[in-house]
């Protein structure tokens, strides 16, 4: 076989040599030779043009042809988020998919966010836009939450409420910085330290700010152990931090079962706008406590919340495009987010101090800072700061009360924002006076029916 191929090859070579000589004989004159040379060079030029045009076409289909400075900056931001998540372990379960989503969305010509091109991330984002993912996350959060410490010491509910002051102070500051009322409300909710709620509200009130708000909320949640302790130490004395609290009383199983049902009925009759968040939170908790839905509880607290976290975080990351993220507004939101966290921590602590005075020193004010949600990290910070003052001080379970109360408080705050700024848009400029009357009516209706 090899021999045959060799013979055929030799024959072809001999034929080519003979043909060239014959051509040379025929082209004996210089003019003909020039013509041939000219034809050859034209052919080469044409070939070079074809090749360069082909390469040009190939280059035009690559991302390099369409990448701009904005995309490069966003890719660097995405890589920074991935670095912080992987190397520094800042909320890695969220920042890894958020960072990767941002990376995918900013690589040009991938069309990952294009609805017309059938982009994958576009369909993930529909889950955010149609308000499916955040309530499903809340379902998982409910299944993971033990309301026992709150039920054992219901007074801690008010610490969760007080921490929401951070949301509203930030709203006022955001308005002063030039944001619209709807945008300011969406930014203020960062102070609630509750990612799904922040995304839910941002999508409803200011979808154009979804990316920066989500990134600020999740970044600061991971920085709670750094942000909170200085404020806690500033607002409390050494003596106050050393206060030991009595052991929590046990709670009946029946109370734990009835609680999520009661919260759903009470809160949603008062604030129907908060139904997706509070409804799902309490359903998840009912799965946990009722004892007859073990499979649903196990699925909700593990697989479901993990799957939805991937979809939600990728969708949020994909919303971080250069044109929507690289603005002055983003920088303002990042600063306002930090301010919101600080104000919420201070609000919880100050009411904690008031409760301490009212109870004759039986409540450690440090548990007030856990009212900012961020379950369970804020409660751990209360424990840590308390233990620094007195190593025998165990505040963790006491701090879990305001911590879970903060989740309910933030959901209620979101419900209030939606009632005021949602589709009915009561708070458009010029309607403040009308709103005062409506607000007064609303409060009257709560207390006097």
């Amino acid at each position: 076989m090899v021999l045959q191929v060799y013979k055929i090859g030799t024959f072809v070579w001999v034929f080519a040599v003979c043909y060239n000589r014959k051509t040379a004989l025929y082209a004996g004159t210089g003019t003909i030779q020039k013509k041939i040379d000219f034809q050859k060079s034209a052919l080469i030029k044409e070939l070079a043009l074809t090749i360069s045009s082909a390469f040009g076409k190939i280059f035009a289909t690559t991302g390099f042809s369409a990448i701009g400075p904005g995309e490069i900056v966003m890719i660097l931001i995405a890589l920074t988020l991935l670095y912080l998540a992987i190397e520094k372990e800042f909320e890695p379960l969220l920042l890894v998919p958020i960072g990767f989503g941002a990376l995918l969305a900013n690589l040009p010509l991938t069309h990952m966010m294009s609805g017309d091109e059938g982009g994958l991330l576009y369909y993930f984002y529909l889950g955010v836009r149609s308000e499916i993912w955040p309530p499903l996350i809340f379902l998982g959060v409910g299944a993971l939450t033990d309301f026992g410490p709150l039920l054992a010491n219901p007074l801690t509910l008010f610490l969760g409420a007080a921490a929401q002051i951070g949301v509203y102070i930030t709203l006022v500051v955001a308005v002063l910085l030039g944001f619209s009322l709807q945008q300011a409300a969406a930014i203020g909710i960062i102070g609630g330290a509750d990612g799904p709620t922040a995304i839910f509200l941002a999508n409803k009130l200011a979808p154009e700010l979804l990316g920066p708000i989500a990134v600020a909320a999740y970044s600061y949640m991971s920085l709670v152990p750094i942000i909170q302790p200085p404020i806690m130490k500033l607002l409390t004395t050494e003596k106050e931090r050393k206060i030991k609290m009595e052991q929590l009383k046990p709670v009946s199983r029946e109370l734990k079962i009835v609680f999520p049902i009661a919260v759903t009925i009470i809160c949603l009759l008062l604030l129907p706008a908060a139904a997706p968040l509070i409804g799902m939170l309490m359903l998840g908790n009912l799965f946990r406590e009722c004892g007859v839905t073990k499979r649903l509880y196990e699925t909700t607290e593990t697989h479901l919340i993990n799957i939805v976290t991937i979809l939600l975080a990728l969708a949020v990351g994909s919303s971080m495009t250069a044109e929507s993220f690289l603005t002055w507004q983003t920088i303002k939101i990042i600063v306002l987010g930090l301010f919101a966290f600080g104000a919420a921590t201070a609000g919880g602590l100050l009411l904690g101090k008031l409760v301490m005075v009212m109870t004759g020193g039986r409540v450690n004010p440090l548990i007030g800072s856990a009212g900012v949600s961020a379950v369970p990290m804020a409660a751990r910070v209360s424990q840590k700061v308390g233990a620094e003052a007195d190593p025998h001080n165990f505040l963790l379970m006491h701090a879990m009360g305001p911590n879970v109360a903060g989740v309910i408080g933030t959901a209620v705050a979101a419900g209030v924002m939606l009632a005021l700024f949602g589709e009915s848009a009561l708070m458009t400029p010029g309607h403040a006076e009308a709103l005062i009357g409506q607000g007064a009516d609303f409060i009257r209706s709560i207390f006097f029916g």
């Binding site: 409420a161 509203y168 109370l255 919260v263 209030v416």
Partner: protein, 68 residues
């Protein structure tokens, strides 16, 4: 300025509503606590020292009588 006024009004209304809702929840929890009070689990044989002593004595006696 109008926006600022509106933001301040929202702050007052928002915090009032949150405290009102959570106050209602507080009262509800206190009421539910009365309806569903915590009951310590009933004593089992394992908690009864007399029963435990009788069973232990019985086991010891059986082991002594057991051949081999």
């Amino acid at each position: 300025m109008e926006n600022l006024t509106a933001a301040l009004v929202v702050t007052v209304i928002g915090m009032s509503v949150i405290f009102a809702v959570l106050a209602i929840l507080y009262v509800s929890i206190l009421s539910l606590e009365r309806i569903f009070p915590y009951k310590a689990p009933a004593q089992t044989a394992g908690d009864d020292t007399e029963t435990v002593a009788v069973i232990q004595a019985g086991i010891t006696a059986y082991l002594k009588r057991r051949p081999g």
